[in-house]
Structures are given as C-alpha cells and as structure tokens.
Symmetry: C2
Subunit: 382 residues, 2 copies
C-alpha cells in the first residue's frame, strides 16, 4: 500500500510468464493492435496514437517533452509537488524556458493562477501539469486546465501516472493533448512501461518539428514505425515482450470491470480508509475535494519516528506504506489504494496495523476505533 508499485493481480503475473515470442511475430503484432484499443478505452479517448513507451513513467514524461518541445520554446509548468519539478527539468533539458506556476504542496493546481500565467505569456506553446500528484495525493482539475490551454492556443502535457484507472480521466472529452501514465499504479501491472496517448494536433507538432527529437529511443517519428497505424511493423527497438503481455492482461481486467466501476471502487475504499484515519485522529495533507482516492497522504503524528513505524509495519504486518518525498520527506506517510490492492482486506489491515503500531509506540491517537469506523462506512455503502 505504498505509492506504487501496487500489488499485481496473479492473472497478470501468469500472463507475463508466458513464453517469450518475437516482437515481430504475427501473434504478437495482433496483441499490439488489441492493446492500442484497450489503451484508448482506459484513457477514454479515440486518439489514434495510444501505445506503451518501453520504459517507466519517467520515460513517458520525457517522451511527451522531447517530442513536443523545441529549443527556444516556452512552456508553462504547474508545480504542486515532486513531479512538476521533474517537468521543469525536462523543459530545460530540451533547451526551452519553463514558466513556473507554483502551488503549495498538498493543494490542487490553482486554475486562476494558470490563467494569469497564460495571459502573461501569450507566446507559451504548452501547458504542462500533473493530474494526480503522487507525492502529495492532490488531484487537479485536468478538464478546466485543458480548456484554458485551448483558449490560449496551447497544447497540454498531462501526467496521469497515478490517475489512470483510479479516478475520473476523460482524455478525449477534456481535450488533453499529450498524456502519459504508468503501469504500476491503478492498473496494478508490473512497473516498467508508460502508456501514452497523443491528440492529432499534438502529433502534427511532432511531425513538423524544426529540430530532430533529441532522444533517438523516444523519437515518436521513429517509434511509430513500429507502433503506429498503417499495418507495417518496422523494427525500432526490441519491445519488452513479456511486460507487454502483462499490460495487455491488466487492460483486459480493467475492461472486464469497467473503468467507471474501477473509479467508484477506488472512491468507496478511500472513504472507508478516510473514516478510519479520522477516527484515529490522523489528518490528511490535502483538503477534502482535492484528494485523490488512490493516494492518501497523512501527516505523521508529532513525536513519532517515521522510519521506525514503516519498518515495523513491513516486518510485523508485511505492509508497505510510502514515505514522504521532497518537501514532505519525514512529514507524511503516503498510503496507496491502487488497482488490485484497493480492497477491503487491505483497508482493514492497514488501519488495524497502524493503530496497533502507533499505540504501541506511544503516539497520541484515538486508539482502537479505526477499524470499526471503516466498517461502519462500508455498511453505509452497502
């Protein structure tokens, strides 16, 4: 129950361990085509370009930036946690300028400040933001930000690493342009791939660049020779065949459940976990209404040894929760409720274990009430 990788469904582990076949084998190519359709469903879009980058989410982020940003460009970057800072690094390494819109860690991106920044920078080409900030648990209004970007004739780059499959995400309806995600969060697949989708207008920008993309490995003009539409599958790099089996199975599972049902499931278990945390007297970092159901950041009670608690949870309860990152290091815990791991057993185990360990270590909490509070919440939902 950390911030990812989440627990992987055994069906996915089984699929991944099937014999490796060639990345140009006709059966594999057929699976690739299916996967593109399944990704469109997960992203809720009809964009033609929907494919997994053959590397983790950070490489998905880099794919969006190196393909869309050219030297001298200006990009408005929203930062309200770790990953907005990583976006800034990407922009600068492309030889472009990042105009930062800073928000407090633990808050959603302030749409009004973004509007001001876009008005003040009419030459901005791209608006980049994190939909679901994994470092804080804050959810930003991707729909409103996408609308603003269109008004100001900007492309959007959106980080949906933690949102895909875990909370409402409608790439097509909202009009997001370049969207990347990860496999190891709410898809509950193994880590190592980054699903991406690009709108037609984003792809036009990629195809009409003045400079070559600085990364050969991530250059979509080349990668699409393998993953693009048009039937021919030309070798670019050797695809991670078995991890792609795993992602295919994860996407089939999401389709079986229904993506809206998955969003509801995350919301429901989050409500129960929240009831338990509140009964214990633990406080959320993010205000109600801006919280991600799948990533629950809570403030570490005063006087409690962060690492000691996490070690005891791991050793005594086989339970991993996440430490704080960046500005929140040592100040918060991050409890993931992602994909396959988002279930009642985990919610109750986490609350019981945390209650027991914190009580035992003398923390000032309302002990012994968390599990019952969560159960009451589940009864209400039923």
């Amino acid at each position: 129950m950390g911030p990812g990788p989440s627990d992987v469904n055994p069906r996915i582990l089984e699929a991944m361990s099937r014999p490796t076949i060639g990345h140009l084998d006709p059966m594999f190519v057929q699976m690739m085509d299916e996967m593109k359709g399944l990704l469109r469903y997960a992203f809720q879009t009809d964009y033609d370009l929907a494919m997994p980058v053959s590397a983790p989410g950070s490489a998905g982020m880099e794919t969006c930036f190196v393909n869309l940003v050219e030297p001298g460009d200006k990009v408005v970057v929203c930062q309200n946690g770790v990953f907005g800072g990583r976006m800034k690094e990407n922009v600068e390494r492309c030889g472009a300028t990042a105009v930062m819109v800073e928000d407090e860690w633990g808050r959603a991106v302030d749409v009004n400040k973004v509007e001001e920044a876009l008005k003040a920078n009419p030459d901005a080409k791209i608006l980049a933001f994190v939909h679901a900030e994994t470092s804080t648990g804050a959810m930003s209004d991707a729909k409103a930000l996408a609308g603003l970007a269109r008004q100001h004739d900007c492309l959007t780059i959106a980080d949906t690493v933690t949102s895909l499959g875990g909370c409402e995400l409608k790439v097509g309806e909202w009009g997001l342009d370049a969207v990347y995600s990860g496999t190891q969060k709410c898809l509950s697949c193994v880590p190592g791939l980054s699903p991406v989708t690009f709108s037609e207008r984003a792809l036009d920008v990629v195809k009409n660049r003045r400079h070559r993309v600085q990364s050969w490995f991530l250059d979509l003009n080349l990668v699409l020779g393998y993953w693009g539409s048009g039937g021919k599958r030309a070798y670019h790099h050797t695809a991670p065949v078995n991890t792609l089996y795993a992602l295919h199975e994860a996407l089939v599972l999401l389709q079986e459940e229904g993506v809206e049902n998955a969003w509801t499931r995350h919301r429901n278990h989050h409500e129960a976990l929240k009831a338990g945390f509140e009964a214990m007297g633990l406080n959320f970092v993010v205000p109600e209404g801006e919280r991600l159901p799948q990533l629950n950041a809570i403030t570490i009670p005063e006087g409690v040894d962060d690492a000691a608690v996490r070690t005891r949870l791991l050793e005594e309860y086989n339970l991993e929760i996440g430490a704080g990152l960046g500005a929140l290091a040592g100040r918060v815990w991050r409890v993931g409720l992602m994909g396959f791991a988002c279930n009642r057993t985990n919610v109750l185990n986490c609350l019981g274990a945390l209650d027991a360990v914190l009580s035992d270590m003398g923390a000032k909490i309302d002990a012994g009430r968390a599990v019952e509070a969560a159960m009451a919440c589940y009864r209400e939902q039923a």
Copy 2:
C-alpha cells in the same frame, strides 16, 4: 532462433512472476546489490558502475552517448551494419560531430582504418563501435580497438548487446570504458533492460560535464542515486521490479554455468550449425574468423521467396529465424543461437526444417545432408 529475443529459460519466467515488491524494499535493495556483482562477473570487469538501465538496449546505447558526449564533441564511429548507424544518430542528437569509419556490411571493423581516423582526428574524444553486429553476424576486435583508443587518449563506447554471455568479452582486461548490452540475447532473459558498465575514467567525465545530460531519465548523475555505491537508495524512477527478478535469475544461471563455458557452448553449437549449412550449400555472409557464433547470417539462395520461407518455418515448424536488416534486407537470413536457445535440439530442428522447406520450394540446395553433417560435427566434439 531469430536475432533475439531468444527463448527464455523457464527458471527466469518463474522468477519474473513472483509477487511485485517495492523498489525501495530492503529485500529488493539486497537483490540490487547482488545483481551488480553478477553483472561485473558477466562483463568480466571490476568497474564499480555495473547496473541495468530500465529500458531496452537502445536506451543503454543512448545512456552511454548522452552521458559522455557534449555539444561540440567529436566522436569516431565505426559502422559495419545497422547499429553503427544508430550510434551516429545518437552522436548527432547530442549536438556533436560523428567521424564515420565505414566498413562493408558483413565484415569486422577494420582496425587500420580506425587508427588512421584517430590519427587524423586528434581532437576526438570517443571511439564508438559495435563488438557484435547483430544485423550481419560480424564480430570486431574489441580488444584491439580499446587499445587504440587508449593510445589516442579516447574513451570507448562499445555495443555488446549480442556478445554478452555468447562470446569472449573481457571489459576490464581490454579496458573498455562505456559498455552496454541487452538482456534478450545470450543472457536469454526477457527483453526490456540494458546492462551497462562504466570505467572510473568514463564516470569522471560524466561527473564533470559542462552541460546537463539532455535526458533526465538516463542521466547517470541522477540514476546513480538509486543504483550507485554508498548504501543509500534514493528514488529516481520506479524500477521495473519483476523484469529485474528475471535478470537476476539469468545472471545466476550464467554464473552457475560459468561464463567461459557459455562461450564454448555457443562456439560448439555454431560449428555444428555451420557444418549443416555448408552441407546444404548455403553461404555465410561473414568470412570465417570474423563470425559471431551466436548470430549466423546466411545468404538467401537465388530465386527463393524470403518471406514465404520464414512464414512456413514459423507455421509448420514453430521456428522463427530473422530477416535481413537495412542494407541486407531481403538478401539474408539471420539464425540466432543465443543463450538457452543455443542447444543441439534447436540446431538439428533448424537444419531439418530449412532443408525440408527449401527442398519443397525447389531451391537449389544439397538436400538431405545437413542434419547428418551437424551430427558428425557433434560426434567429433564429443
């Protein structure tokens, strides 16, 4: 029996399907430390930096170039197949100049021409070459090339994607500086990772760059916060946990066999396959003495339909062999004998199947003799 991915040992598939744990879990961190030692053994080096890049071999190549090359640098690049051309692309995308040393496809890199190029370009910073050219089956003299580079005060970047575990490779003794490989060739692991190793002097260059590395994802100054020595494992990106289980198991298998024994095994099965091809009257692309045992490129007999033969082998014999790439497309087949797939069963099945299909399609070969020729070779070896 294509040019990779090769067949994966079931032990590796089993290891990969174990439950996913966190990339900062103490047990996982311990596995990372073991893996670094196992990689040093596989590469035959004592360089401190030995780690897998979290993406396929092409990203390992890019890791070497983006970390060592800066804008304005000059790099001597040897090209005798597809992958030297990819190196040129990498150099240019780093804003540097590639001085090309071209050799015929199917031949080893000409050491004399390289020496001339180094003399003519005393300001060259790096010599880059492919040890085992997967597109042609040619093996170049990495030891001699590394020696030349040192004489001319150049760093080396060496592509060992297909050589690692399949033929002699002594990174430390030969003094190679930045070496990348793949997991899906002679390690017989699943595709998706790229083992790399850097000498101290290469790492010094990375640490003392004038410009930031253009890729955030591949910047070793950041990646080594997670993979480097010194105990602390700071989050950079989410490691591909399950694929790393697989690589760990592949490296344990190599250690169990002994790396020299693995080289001998590849050589022996290559000799048998060669005896069979020659009995059939098929010609190797690469002259004897420059051939890789693990990648056997043979000229397609005149009048034979390339794709039709490969389709029949796949459909009737469940056998994949590789098509030609680049300049050799449509002119050659590439038959891999890599790692777990390098065994007597595969050699005999391949010869028998190819003999049958070519005969049936009316090709001018010496039919019905290949399998016996291979068997005779095995008897001699015994």
